[in-house]
Point group: C3
Chain length 275, copies 3
């Protein structure tokens, strides 16, 4: 293990402990599919979830929250307004926020929404490779490398790395492109991680729930890059352990929540794969 | 086993394999209760779920989707508009769609909504016996047989058969009335199936999730009648196997998702009960 | 066991049996997070859930329902309108209703909503200690005892008892402040219960689901105080048994649903702790 790997492993273990001990309040404006599992994931890992989206109360609520998570999975005009109000308030009040650009690139409505939200300066953008590439394109960035293949595409993380770095520099934020391999970058520092399980893709909203966990770690960390690495790392380690106890996607979701609740520093030390 | 039973068993096994291998994208505009479990059911059986309802993006999204599923469980004026936009686009673009008329007959608002949606020509209507009878009544059809008993009613499938056939002929679609016995008809061909478990009625939204699975099978089949039979059949076989592993509705839901993920051609061959 | 403890234990067992045998239809206007688990909890305990919120159909639907449950977890202006229409209809038609004031005290929007809804005379208000104290404050009640500490607060039930009694007298309703110890009062009669498990707080929406169960018991009882005691008691007994079978919050939720389905009169007799 290189000094840097060793340091990030220690950071992950430490921040996991801080999420548990300080139980940060994380406000989520998320899609209808992930409401239940994202709240359960946050509770299991030790954070305090709140699903609050009304424009009438969001600016007030953002003030109590240690982080805000915006997920565009099930959009409507009303929810986009809520997201704008919330991210405006978060930016003004200094509450760090996470953007999960579900389905970016699939429709113009999604891309316009991403474009609006980027103005309010997310601390972290977390998506799969195709979504990260689509957000970069929305931000006017491009490379000669592979373009998104459409909504059904499964670009690999490695295809997204170059655009992820450009996007992080452009938005002055951390970008996490997650999948079989996870890539986290703030435009200067970059790291790959490789824990997790293929079963994670067979349970709905585990990507969305990871974005919520990034919010929890942001709420206890000073450095968004470290928060994103630690959240992705701890989540992947739990995902790997859970797979050893599951016989399909139903039992996997159950085992994953149990494991998030139990995963400890020793598990991180033994299993975290920082490449 | 008659030649026809044998043929439908082979069709069910084949279409299940095609859902797994081609992973059809199924767009759902469904109720808030079923969002999570329907997405998990689709993932478990090998399909690719998308919950997309905004009128701003639906016509574009329907173009990518292999099937659309409309479920009226938790209605509002805004969602009815979304459903109208989506089904209009589906009809125009030739994307087959499924209507799940949850609670039809319970309120005038539901019946009016069903009436609007029927105009856009569903390929399959899937509901319980009381709902199918209510949809038939909305379509102006009637028989001398039992009338719906109200929202708490539990008409049996056999009471709905005659109206289901009339409805299929009237709408030029396939109708599936599901329950302890399932009845599927396109107005010419009719079949009864009898797999499943009483525990399915003690887990919320497993009927809604079946409609989503009908969408997945529609996305890989040429014949909506065969798609509906195969979806209902494979679902029931998984439901029957799962009951052998469960000790209540909580563990049943878990076992059911694990079983949908694992159920194979041999299970269909051994267990499918086409009456 | 005192005569009163013994009587309430018998009442709890009897009402649980009546929920199972008459399967009351319970209409819920609840938050997006709890939709799935609350419906599953109601089905597991033997009731019949309906999630119906459109103003267009609610007055009609309230007429079929044995109880209505209003939960303000994920508010919006539109949903507040739905809640007003529904509670107005419930009050007019004599359908008893439960208020679950999630997050009361956290924002002005929540407090204004609670204020509006109180006018329509809930039969039972169920919340955690901080929420019950916040509702009392909204109703203009105050004591010298501890004030709410904000959204992250965890006031204990004992801190809320005095205000709960005042609130019950003021609203002429039953108030249940639940937590490690549960306190139920109608302003004249008061009782403490102490079943349950700390794991209940690590699974999202189990408080919301308890409010739904209070609705189910209201639907079969003549006395809202007895309904609330029995619902809180049976729920806590199931929660305690489930904890013996779980290894974390994921398996706890599964075991809890299985236990609610199976919990019987003998469990109530042996385990119910009325203090």
């Amino acid at each position: 293990m290189s000094p840097d790997q060793s340091r990030l492993t220690a950071v992950t273990a430490r921040l996991l402990g801080e999420v548990r001990s300080s139980s940060p309040l994380v406000q989520n404006i998320t899609n209808f599919v992930s409401m239940d599992v994202a709240a359960n994931v946050l509770l299991a890992i030790g954070a305090s979830p709140a699903m609050v989206h009304a424009p009438e109360e969001t600016p007030e609520f953002v003030g109590f929250s240690r982080a805000l998570v915006i997920n565009i999975g099930t959009l409507s005009k009303q929810w986009v307004e809520s997201m704008e109000v919330a991210t405006t308030a978060a930016h003004a009040q200094g509450t760090p926020w996470v953007l999960d650009p579900v389905g970016a690139g699939a429709t113009r409505f999604r891309d316009q929404t991403v474009q609006k939200l980027l103005r309010h300066r997310p601390a972290v953008i977390r998506g799969n490779a195709s979504e990260i590439m689509a957000v970069a394109r929305v931000a006017g960035l491009t490379t000669d490398a592979a373009r998104p293949k459409g909504v059904d595409s499964s670009n690999t993380t490695s295809e997204a790395e170059e655009l992820a770095i450009l996007l992080a520099r452009h938005c002055l934020c951390t970008v996490a492109a997650t999948g079989a391999i996870d890539f986290v970058t703030d435009g200067q520092r970059s790291v790959r991680l490789s824990n997790g399980s293929p079963l994670m893709a067979r349970v709905t909203a585990l990507g969305c729930s990871l974005s919520a966990v990034v919010g929890a770690f942001l709420g206890v960390a000073d450095d968004p890059f470290e928060a994103a690495v630690a959240a992705v790392g701890a989540y992947g380690v739990a995902g790997e352990i859970a797979a050893e106890k599951a016989s399909g996607p139903g039992s996997y979701r159950v085992a994953f929540l149990d494991t998030l609740y139990a995963v400890g520093e020793a598990d991180i030390q033994q299993r975290l794969k920082v490449l």
